[in-house]
Subunit: 114 residues, 2 copies
DNA sequence: TCCTTATATTCGAACATACGAATATAAGGA
DNA sequence: TCCTTATATTCGTATGTTCGAATATAAGGA
């Protein structure tokens, strides 16, 4: 297993390592949506969504198509959706540890106020 | 798809988003190895390997077992190995874009010297 | 042309991650 | 007990990521 393959995988995982980007891919899994649709469904800042889309584009996880003044995005390879499905299964396989992890994620954020 | 599941997935992907940690999981895929074994096979600093192992432990991707003064690590759930296998398939499915990505990764590092 | 809508990019601040050097801990063995 | 081997943790620095605010671009429509 050459190091280049590992760097590639790490790079794709990095692109997937944000809840908003996972949400975008989840939404696109059922069909293409415009940037505005994604913005509306996720209820986030326009610039923020656009930045996350830029990352997904850079890593070639999504393709985009321009129609009039809208840009429609879709998932490029359904294998990525399969990866997300396996991760859901992983979550369920390890329910106990999964919930522990989530609690750590929560408390990590509220650690500011002791 | 609740947001907590997305945060969980993002967190696991974050843990996988480093070539060294992928290499560690690849090595552990065939059976348990000690921290020293990993250090030797990867030819990296002891502290660095130990830090990466700490991350994999924190995200419960690996388990460890102490025997005498050695610590043996193994992959906790083979589903993770399956995820890596799917990523390899993804790499092959998208050979053209994959190589483009790798070149961008390479040139991103040498951008210091124009 | 000017205006509006839709999307992208740039910038700076806050925060997170990665690394090696140094240090700490823990388990045997002499 | 002291020494050695194996592993973990802490610290400082460099680098990368995320966000919103502001700005830029691009395509119609009036």
């Amino acid at each position: 297993m050459p190091d280049s393959l590992r760097r590639f995988k790490a790079d794709i995982f990095q692109a997937l390592a944000h809840p908003t980007r996972i949400a975008i891919i989840d939404l696109l899994a059922t069909g293409e949506l415009s940037a505005g649709d994604l913005m509306e469904r996720l209820g986030m800042e326009q610039a923020n969504i656009s930045q996350h889309l830029a990352i997904l584009r850079a890593k070639k996880l999504v393709t985009n198509r321009k129609s009039a003044n809208k840009v429609f995005y879709s998932v490029k390879d359904p294998l990525i959706i399969e990866v997300l499905a396996i991760m859901r299964k992983y979550f369920q396989n390890n329910l106990k540890e999964s919930h522990e992890l989530l609690h750590e994620l929560d408390s990590a954020h509220s650690e500011v106020t002791p």
